[in-house]
Symmetry: C2
Subunit: 240 residues, 2 copies
């Protein structure tokens, strides 16, 4: 929080002669920024545009948010409040974990620009922490040592965020008439023998099938490969 | 390629009275677009800006590139020409594969905006094909059936692209004084017991250690989890 007067912008509003607005608050700013992000994408969420939408000047925002990076972190965390962590209907820890990751994916899909934001913003705040806490618990329930579980959370969230970022721009690699399908179908057996031989497999499966398989791959790999420092720390013995 | 006259823009240049420029070509356009991308990021690479840098009008470009998406695909493929596929000094297929992925990561790191481009652009073109061909060959050498190798290439490239996209924005989760480190260190044992217990592990390891471990996890998982259609197709029996 800066030292500026949070009501600096009010005069601007009163000069416009419009109806009396609610006073600025961090909550209002974050809500408006999220609305702009979902409507216009990451480029639409500048401090200038948020201020304009709230009918105030950018300077007024600095009393509530440190800078654009700070605002992005608040917006991301607010959006992640929608992630469903219960996974209650599954008994198996893998299925519960997959349900949480799927909910995270769906939340990122929903808002245009949200996946881009998640990929490039430091994820902090209570809702992010809640997700990390849940995933750590599930992975330890599955038998991972504490260190491997810690690195695994990072890898799982990065994978799912990347899927969302890739797809949210309308990028669909397996689209039958799309450029990737055309390029693969056109690869010659002489120049690209493996691509040619695998052309059907390269384009097979929909997003849901590939997602499910990838999570399966990641969990199997994690169960087999303890993180380097995990070999020493163990599951029940804290690393400090 | 459109039907427009590629020299449409020349008059603009002659009116400026500058030195005689080389005539436009797809090669020039792609080289200039890549230069702009690396200098200004993805936002800097609009058709308008590329045209301005070449001292012509955007309309002139349409004789050489179909649209911005087409230009992006050409730029990405040109950048990927720098990926080193030899991995010659390693005998083990895993090490050769890791060397290729590391070279791919380094290429994406180098150019600002390149990782973002790779995440959101349909990767086609000869240099992309060359990378897919090499990875497929290495994975089949490692014993993966053809279908699993095909899906694995996608997963490996997505993971590495995401790492590059995350880091190229200056996002370093494990930075000691960074917001993530502060948030994790500040997580209370009551509210977030797993985060609190794992706080050291969550921040342990540098990028290279985590990358190496993640590739190990992915390969181990892939070797254990055949893709759904892979179970039927097998390695030596083509899927058609």
């Amino acid at each position: 929080m800066g030292a500026k007067n949070p009501f600096e912008g009010l005069e601007v509003r009163s000069r416009r002669g419009g109806p009396v607005k609610e006073p600025l608050s961090r909550d209002h700013i974050v809500a408006e920024a999220l609305r702009l992000l979902e409507k216009e994408g990451l480029e639409g969420m500048s401090l200038r545009k948020v201020a304009a939408a709230l009918e105030t000047g950018p300077a007024s925002l600095y009393a509530y948010v440190e800078d654009l990076e700070g605002l992005k972190a608040l917006v991301l965390d607010r959006a992640l409040a929608a992630v469903d962590l219960s996974g209650a209907r599954w008994r198996d820890w893998r299925e519960r974990l997959k349900a949480v990751l799927l909910s995270y994916l769906m939340v990122l899909y929903k808002g245009r620009g949200l996946a881009q934001l998640a990929l490039t913003t430091s994820a902090v705040g209570p809702h992010t922490m809640r997700i990390v806490e849940t995933l750590l618990g599930l992975l330890e329930e599955g038998g991972l040592d504490r260190a491997t579980a810690a690195w695994s959370v990072d890898l799982l969230l990065l994978y799912v965020t990347a899927i969302a970022a890739e797809q949210s721009r309308g990028h669909d690699p397996s689209h039958p008439g799309g450029p990737i399908a055309r390029a693969i179908a056109g690869a010659s057996a002489e120049e690209y023998p493996h691509v040619h031989a695998s052309r059907d497999d390269l384009l097979a499966g929909d997003g849901a099938e590939r997602f499910s398989w990838a999570i399966h791959v990641l969990l199997s790999g994690m169960l087999q490969c303890p993180a380097p420092m995990g070999r020493a720390s163990g599951r029940l013995k804290p690393s400090r």
